[in-house]
């Protein structure tokens, strides 16, 4: 079995919480902090930490704005983030195909 695809998996995305954030953002142009928090059932601190990691990797961009005098934090995938996410999915599919091909 070729271990190459597994070794190539992006460790930033591979963590469960960050993968969840990336998946949600991949299906939407942008999502607010509260939308992400409620949908994923994360605490504010946990979500902030994961978003910061993704931001530092250049995968997620965070925009702060004001709507009706309330601060609004929205997150979206960057071009690099979308590319990394697509690459991650491709590798997962490759692993599935490779393992299935070995089955009798």
């Amino acid at each position: 079995m070729n271990p190459e695809p597994f070794l190539q998996l992006d460790r930033v995305i591979h963590e469960k919480g960050r993968l969840a954030i990336m998946s949600m953002l991949a299906a939407s142009a942008d999502l607010s902090f509260t939308e992400l928090r409620d949908a994923l059932g994360m605490t504010d601190g946990n979500l902030t930490t994961h978003i910061r990691t993704l931001q530092e990797a250049g995968y997620v961009s965070v925009t702060k704005s004001f709507e009706n005098n309330r601060s609004l934090t929205t997150c979206s995938l960057t071009r690099a983030g979308r590319r990394a996410f697509t690459g991650y999915i491709n590798l997962l599919e490759q692993i599935v195909r490779q393992t299935k091909a070995r089955e009798p």
Binding site: M24, L25, A27, A29, N68, I89, L92, E93, T99
Partner: protein, 216 residues
């Protein structure tokens, strides 16, 4: 084993991507408010004897406009309360799904509204008052069914129920049922039952299931 792990990851990703696209505003208040509005409007229509096709079409289109405006405000209030953008991608998808059938309903109602009959004129007995509410209900059901692809909690089923109700009532009418009911009374009664009470019942159902879902 690795295949299972990778497949599991892909499944999780798919589920999360779908969840991200789902409209998450609480629908119970919207449905309940529309139910009350529909039932009260039907009662007022019957009591005020709004019987000419023009008056009937204008009256119910105004009620629909009020319902849309009310729904919009309720959804916006929720978004503000939760510090979320109102015009989010899921909201846009739902609006895009709702619009074509609703526009069609408006287009079909306008000729009746633009007619020359005065209030309570001879044309009050016209077949338009039998068919227009049924067509409106069917189109409204289609719009909810289309929007249901981006909404949780049985919205597609509710849309189907409206389409079926319209079809069954139309078939019964074609077979000669309700011939004894004056068309304008039939129209208000159908609107009150389907737009009013059905919405109300669905709103109450959502009130309990949405709350349970949030508590879980």
């Amino acid at each position: 084993m690795e295949s299972n792990w990778a497949s599991g990851h892909l499944q999780v990703i798919r589920t999360l991507m779908e969840r991200s696209a789902v409209y998450r505003r609480a629908l119970a208040p919207v449905m309940t408010a529309n139910g009350v509005l529909g039932a009260v409007a039907a009662g007022v229509g019957l009591a005020a004897r709004i019987r000419a096709p023009r008056a009937f079409a204008g009256y119910w289109m105004a009620v629909a406009l009020a319902a849309v405006a009310g729904s919009f405000l309720l959804a916006r209030r929720q978004a503000l309360k939760e510090a979320e953008p109102f015009w989010s991608p899921p909201t846009r998808r739902v609006a895009q799904a709702l619009l074509p059938p609703l526009f069609c309903g408006l287009a079909l109602g306008l000729p009746l509204f633009a007619g020359q009959e005065g209030l309570g004129g001879a044309a009050a007995a016209g077949p338009g008052l039998f068919w227009l509410p049924l067509v409106w209900i069917a189109l409204y059901g289609c719009s909810l069914h289309a929007a249901g692809f981006f909404m949780p909690r049985g919205m597609k089923l509710f849309g189907w129920a409206l389409v079926l109700a319209s079809g069954i009532l139309g078939a019964l009418r074609a077979l000669g049922a309700f011939a004894w009911v004056e068309p304008w009374r039939f129209g208000h009664a159908v609107m009150g039952l389907v737009f009013g009470l059905a919405h109300l019942a669905y709103g109450v159902y959502l009130y309990f299931t949405e709350r349970r879902g949030n508590e879980a």
